[in-house]
């Protein structure tokens, strides 16, 4: 589904990613863990085609090299971006937030399916997007890329700052879309949550992938990892 090979990226003179290579197979949920500043968000933005500095290496999506493609072309190919601030438009209603992106991919969700899955969004569909609570906005950001029919979701810390109940809900939604064949690359600081949803984990440090962890390893080393991440 996604293959990154030898990706390096810079902000001005500062190198933030160093020769990162990773793969995500269809239907997998894979997380990126690492301290703040390790390069997780830069990596996700690179995959989406939003990195503004210099970068080198290959990003391959669905078998095509998309490295040189603009962000909107990558989105049309089936990449669904959920940014760390959720990216809800204040000047668009909830329903407009949902219908803004064009439907792409073989299996875009209908609005009805979105509203069945997220009944709260139906109730609030005429409200401005940013009038929703933080949890509802996160649901809206996820629902938006699902309605689009994205095949690989790029989620930048969807659980950050949300109550445990909402975090649980997000977990069950992610597992649910995974069962429907959607792939997810997830930035996650909450190691405990990560191992309840993900199949594998990449540990990033100073712009490098230092370890690939299976769920069982994360469980066994949870305390060590928490300490390492400084949480």
């Amino acid at each position: 589904m996604l293959r990154i090979d030898g990706l390096s990226a810079w902000y001005g003179e500062a190198q933030v990613l160093r020769d990162v290579s990773l793969e995500v197979a269809k239907g997998e949920i894979v997380t990126l863990v690492g301290r703040n500043g390790a390069g997780k968000t830069t990596l996700l933005r690179n995959v989406m085609g939003l990195h503004e500095g210099r970068s080198s290496g290959v990003v391959e999506f669905l078998g095509d090299d998309v490295s040189g493609h603009a962000a909107h072309r990558r989105a049309k190919r089936g990449l669904g971006y959920v940014p760390d601030d959720r990216g809800i438009y204040a000047t668009l209603s909830v329903e407009e937030n949902l219908t803004l992106p064009p439907a792409v991919g073989p299996d875009p969700w209908s609005l009805d399916k979105v509203y069945e899955t997220f009944p709260r969004l139906r109730e609030r569909r005429r409200s401005p997007g940013t009038k929703l609570s933080g949890g509802e906005q996160q649901m809206l950001a996820l629902a938006r890329v699902l309605r689009m029919g994205a095949r690989l979701l790029l989620c930048d810390e969807p659980t950050e700052g949300l109550s445990p109940l909402i975090v649980q809900q997000i977990g069950s939604i992610l597992r649910d879309v995974k069962s429907q064949g959607v792939t997810v690359l997830l930035i996650e600081q909450n190691v405990h949550f990560a191992q309840t949803v993900a199949d594998r984990h990449y540990l990033l440090a100073e712009g490098r992938i230092v370890e690939t962890l299976e769920n069982s390893e994360v469980r066994a080393r949870e305390n060590e990892l928490l300490e390492y991440l400084g949480i």
């Binding site: 085609g49 909107h72 989105a75 990216g87 000047t91 992106p101 938006r144 689009m148």
Partner: protein, 286 residues
């Protein structure tokens, strides 16, 4: 007093049209278009030349001139502005400012600095009885056109898919690209549209204001204040502020003539102290 207020609304009609164009362009391109006043001037001058040399009347100019200037805007965006946008904002600042000077001087060279006469269209040369006072029909027409155009733009923005894309791209251009929308494709027509609005304001101004090369430069300073008061990038804010500033300066002119020129800027300073993002602006838009 009522008549003064009406004068203010008519003045505000021009502010609103210009501020709306400026705001659309700033929101979508992130470019502060210093040449906006020059296009307003070109709108008035083109109408004058069309009538004087080619006998094209006001009603035809009202359609032809905005369309032609819109096309000029599209060409400018494609040739220059697009290339300068990725660089420091200073480049487009200098480009549009330089363009203003060039356009003004070209017109000055041909026609000098004195004002050119432009007759009112005969159908609107009389006065209208508005009940409480009579008022020149042409001024009523200007106000009507401006309100109509603003409502039309509002309708397109709020009710159509094009409007939704423009709102989204104005608020978060990068995110909008990441959601599969080719924002770059929309930038050119939006710039052309903003310039066309300035041209329309120019045509409307020709029969009631002095048509001279500096007419835009005098007006645009106030329009910048209007846009800042309304909130940079807020389209609703710029229209609302346009009419408000028109009212305030007309009434100010009447009651405190000594302050007539400065009142707008005092108001701007007060608004900025109270709400740094402007009346309808959002903090993050800065």
């Amino acid at each position: 007093m009522l008549q003064q207020a009406f004068n203010g609304l008519v003045g505000g009609a021009f502010y609103a049209l210009l501020a709306l164009g400026l705001s659309v362009i700033f929101g979508m391109l992130g470019v502060v278009n210093f040449a906006h006043g020059a296009f307003y001037m070109l709108g008035a001058f083109t109408s004058y030349v069309l009538l004087d040399s080619y006998g094209v009347n006001f009603w035809a100019a009202l359609v032809v001139v905005p369309v032609a200037l819109g096309v000029v805007g599209i060409v400018l965006e494609r040739l220059f502005i697009r290339r300068l946008t990725p660089l420091d904002p200073l480049y487009n600042f200098l480009f549009t400012f330089g363009l203003t000077l060039i356009l003004q001087d070209l017109v000055k060279r041909e026609y000098g600095v004195q004002s050119q006469p432009y007759p009112r269209p005969s159908a609107l040369s009389g006065t209208l009885d508005l009940g409480l006072f009579t008022y020149p029909a042409y001024q009523v027409f200007v106000l009507g056109v401006s309100v109509l155009v603003c409502l039309l733009v509002w309708f397109v923005l709020v009710r159509t898919r094009v409007g939704m894309v423009v709102r989204a791209a104005t608020e978060r251009p990068e995110l909008t690209r990441a959601l599969g929308i080719d924002v770059g494709r929309w930038v050119t027509p939006v710039f052309g549209f903003g310039i066309a609005l300035a041209g329309l304001a120019g045509v409307l101004a020709a029969p009631m204001r002095a048509v001279n090369p500096l007419m835009g430069a005098d007006l645009i300073i106030v329009v910048f204040a209007v846009v800042v008061i309304g909130g940079l990038g807020s389209l609703f804010g710029s229209v609302a502020a346009g009419f408000t500033i028109g009212l305030v300066s007309a009434l100010g002119n009447y009651y405190v003539p000594a302050l007539s020129q400065t009142l707008v800027f005092i108001l701007m300073a007060a608004v900025l102290l109270w709400r740094p993002a402007g009346l309808f602006g959002r903090e993050e838009a800065l």
